[in-house]
Amino acid sequence: MNWLETIRTGLDAVRSHRMRSGLTVLGILIGIAAVMLTVGLGLGAQAQISQQINSLGSNLLIITPGSVTSSSGVRGGSGSASTLTETDATALASKVVAPDIAAVAPTVQRSESLTAGTSNWTTTVVGTTPDWATVRARTVDSGRFLTGQDITDHAAVAVLAATTAQQLFGARDAVGETVTVNGVPLTVTGVLKAAGSTSVANEDDQAVVPLSTASQRLFGGATRTSVQSIYLQAQSSDRLSAAYQEADSELSALHHVRAPASADFTITSQQSILNTATSITQTLTVLLGGIAGISLLVGGVGVMNIMLVSVTERIREIGLRKALGATPRMIRRQFMVEASVLGLAGGVLGVLLGAVAGAGLSKLISQPIVFSATATLGALAVAVAIGLVFGVYPASRAARLAPIEALRSE
């Protein structure tokens, strides 16, 4: 009997045992769809979080001041020191000192009340330089962003984020309007394009003003040249660690830091934030994958049961086929074809169901689902292997029996 005949025989058997075939296919199908969906959800969450963190700007380094110790010996928290200055930022912007740093944006920020006509809105006012837009990967939706001239002139201008503009001016175009902060009227020159809120901060609710205007005219205070943080952008992702080194050594020199432990500043890379978040979502993915694995296992045990029972109740058939001239190899092949057909049918249907359900679920919970080829193929391999082992092994044992023993079995 050739392979074509064997395949026909196997297909006949699959077709004539509809209930059994259906249940086997169902077991495999559910296992695979479950693995696809749960792993897909985990990976989707991971992708979404890393995309949010990347939306802070790419190849980003953030320098924050260290803690300050008062004369009485009380140590403030991280960022309480006012040792980071505009001079530091200017030094880091030098291509000679730090060739791997592409853009530098020193920032000061404070929560302030903004007034426009009769409406008011309290939000974060950020004082910074034109590089901020580059570093934070932001663009204006209308009008223009800050310019170098605005900094030099201590210009009374502001760029509003989308939500802030909408709160103060409603549907009207905010460009050209005036907002008042601490009694200083600022002309709105532009509105930022919406970036979406991230787990870190609401990027769409803030007002950006020139650094000089913020420190000299809006915020006041004693240390008018100090900044709260400096955002750096490296030339490229593979220059990130070089940029880190340059910033670290330049600031250490400027601040006369002798030992790394006594540094009065901290450099955080966006990568490290990303790594933390990724490790959390990876744990989530592994957890979900584990649950999916269990459902695959349960499905597999179901498939195993159906296969074992069906082969057992077909031992008479095996005996008869042997009496009519089938060799053990022909019997094995027939059951192998049957198990493979069931396994593949379940696999293909499972992948289809997973894909369709995934697309539907993704819409329903507005959360991306990223399908993993590895997880899908792995689940498929496991399901088909279970079907093959538990379909073929008992059949090949029965095929080795003397025909009459198989024929007599009940």
């Binding site: 005949e5 006949d12 004539s16 060799t327």
Partner: protein, 249 residues
Amino acid sequence: MTTDVLPVLEVPLLELCDVGKTYRSGSLEVEALRGASLSIQAGEFVAITGPSGSGKSTLMHVLGCLDSPTSGTYRLAGQDVSAMSEEELADVRNRRIGFVFQQFNLLASLTAGRNVELPLCYAGVGRAERSVQALEALTRVGLDHRVQHRPGELSGGQQQRVAIARALVGDPALILADEPTGNLDSASTSDVLGLLAELHAAGRTIVLITHESDVAAAAQRTVRIFDGAICDDSDRVRGGAHRAPAVRG
């Protein structure tokens, strides 16, 4: 014995020589056959009878290569079966022997036609040729109008006739029938026995196993088996008038 008294020196189709078969289940040993010797020429119609438990079924299983003897030798058409591999045995069952069982043993999921085709499938006969031969065999048993029916849609007598068609489809030298009428009413019984007699008339060798003496009467020769050994053979009484005497080794 000199050769001049023998018109033809024929090798017997079946030759059992001092065959024993012991079943072992746990510590219990059952001797189903002890020293059975039997020789059947091509073209004979032999009934093997005996009370239940006498070993006649075991004898049939050994004759049909469905089970192997634990001692003695069995030659089928001159070939020693006990020395054969699984594959060779499968080939012998496929080409030389046609089986008719008491429980019909048709595959419920296949049509009558496909059931009859099964031995041809394993013999590697092509599809078109198979359905021609299957139809021919079913016509022979008078069921050519039932080719597309499944066993469940046929009466017991019809199912047994399908089984007979399946037994004769590959044109085997030997047809082995194990209580073929055991599950049938008297009308179907005479049908089936008539068919077997017809096949015998057409030159086939038939071995029929039964415990009913009226069924055994359909055969030309009756072999009685008791307690695992041949105790009576009508062939010896009749002197094998219809054939050349067996040469016993």
